[in-house]
């Protein structure tokens, strides 16, 4: 038997262990990139093999946090794909403004880069006070960092450029303090944000919202899980609510394709049909 086949079996066993012990199911993730992350986690945690990782997951419950942090990909940036945020500002927020309360779900929020981006948009459009953002992720370590709102200062330039290209009305530096190679966003930006652990693979609807932002998360899922999550989004949206996906994600070939209209193709903005 080839080494690679042995590794394949160890990976399958790892996925089974994680599911049986802790209820996290990674069997429905796209295997090639999952395997890369699992190998990197093995190296980082000093395990001799993936089988050894599985044993650690079994013997050491506290290890789970680290495993989930290693297997998820909290890589993000503020105002990533600026035209998307520009479109949200110009086309979507004016529609949301007509609601007495605005509820937004940001699913897969990583370190919160998009949460603060949204908060700034809402603030600048005068809508923040009546808004509530639910920011969720399955990675608790990332969620804690998201709530801190602290980023390496080396990101400031990219974030600022993106912000300007997204139609920013001020200077991004008005919203953060720079200190020791770090920037920290104003506490006030998260006064209407709830950070919570939510696993898209297993958890259900928890709120009715007018906008869901879930970008660069579905690319990691297989067809089955993607469809499950999209149905969850559909069921969480008010009629005529908005769904915003990542720039390489689409509703084409999914089971909810017919439940949505395309609102803006280049921003990957979809709108749930009204009841009929």
């Amino acid at each position: 038997m080839l080494d690679t086949d042995a590794e394949e079996l160890e990976i399958r066993d790892f996925i089974r262990t994680l599911k049986a012990r802790h209820g996290y199911d990674f069997a429905q993730y796209a295997p090639a990139s999952f395997k890369r992350r699992l190998r990197a986690l093995r190296v980082r945690s000093g395990a001799a093999s993936i089988a050894a990782l599985s044993r650690r997951v079994t013997d050491e419950p506290a290890f789970l946090r680290q495993v989930l942090a290693g297997l998820s990909v909290p890589v993000s940036e503020m105002f990533r794909d600026p035209w998307v945020f520009e479109t949200l500002r110009r086309e979507v927020l004016p529609i949301l403004a007509s609601y007495p309360r605005i509820h937004i779900w940001q699913a897969g929020c990583a370190h919160g880069e998009e949460v603060y981006s949204l908060a700034i948009l809402l603030q600048e459009e005068g809508l923040y006070d009546k808004s509530q953002i639910f920011a969720t992720d399955l990675n608790d370590v990332a969620l804690e960092e998201a709530a801190e709102g602290i980023y390496p200062a080396s990101n400031a330039r990219l974030f600022s450029e993106n912000y300007q290209r997204a139609g920013g009305r001020h200077s991004l530096s008005d919203y953060f303090h720079a200190r020791y190679e770090r920037i920290k966003f104003d506490e006030s930006l998260k006064r209407n944000v709830t950070f919570a652990s939510h696993n898209l693979s297993t958890d259900g609807v928890f709120a009715e919202v007018q906008l869901i932002l879930c970008r660069n998360v579905l690319i990691y899922f297989n067809d089955t899980l993607q469809n499950r999550v999209l149905q969850l989004f559909r069921d969480s949206l008010v009629h005529k609510g908005f769904l915003c996906l990542g720039s390489k994600e689409t509703l084409a070939h999914t089971t909810v394709e017919r439940d949505f209209d395309t609102f803006d193709q280049s921003a990957r903005l979809y709108r749930r049909h009204a009841l009929r």
């Binding site: 090639a32 990139s33 720039s247 994600e249």
Partner: protein
């Protein structure tokens, strides 16, 4: 289990960076309209074609349809699939693409190392890896993975490459079955399917 060499699906993968656009036009221009294998092309965005879409630029010079690779969609014979900017592109065992925004590898995303390694794992001896001009080391580890599984490795002659570093790194780390000029690479890729039929 894939055992016989002939049973493995064949896929051509090409990685390039600085100087890559011109090089790709030449190589892809040599492939006939009835090319029987899927072709995957990865050009680093730092190679400076930003502004115009790479698929449009390459389609002008290529008899095959050129399309951006999409997550979960299958590799198609006779199609040139382009890695989208900003995402890693991977090939799954079931010969579908997937995308990720995982950390950069070898300082780049998309990374040829990631793509080549995934293809090596997916098709083993069926992989044909090509490294062209570029000013970094990306692709060297990926080409080594292709060779380790019995796939074919072709590297552009560094003497001829606009930027020799990427072919040199590949030769140092992976070696190659053939070191060729761009012109010869095009001809070689065009001839390969006939030889393995």
């Amino acid at each position: 289990m894939r055992s016989a060499k002939t049973a493995a699906p064949r896929v051509v993968v090409i990685g390039a960076s600085v100087g890559g656009l011109e090089a790709l036009k030449q190589v892809l221009g040599a492939l006939p309209a009835d090319y029987p294998w899927p072709v995957i092309v990865l050009l680093h965005t730092s190679a400076g074609y930003r502004g115009t879409r790479l698929d449009t630029l390459l389609a002008q010079r290529c008899a095959l349809p050129v399309r951006e690779a999409e997550a979960r969609r299958p590799l198609e014979a006779g199609v040139v699939h382009i890695a989208p900017a900003g995402y890693h592109l991977l090939v799954e065992q079931d010969l579908r693409f997937s995308l990720s925004v995982d950390e950069k590898v070898s300082y780049v995303r998309p990374s040829a190392d990631v793509l080549f390694e995934s293809l090596a794992e997916a098709v083993g001896v069926g992989a044909v890896g090509v490294i062209l001009t570029g000013a970094n080391d990306d692709g060297a580890a990926g080409l080594a993975a292709i060779r380790a599984r019995g796939g074919l490795a072709i590297v552009q002659d560094p003497e001829e490459a606009q930027a020799p570093q990427m072919p040199q790194a590949a030769l140092r780390m992976a070696g190659a079955d053939q070191v060729l000029s761009l012109e010869a690479i095009g001809a070689r890729l065009a001839a390969l399917p006939g030889e393995s039929a």
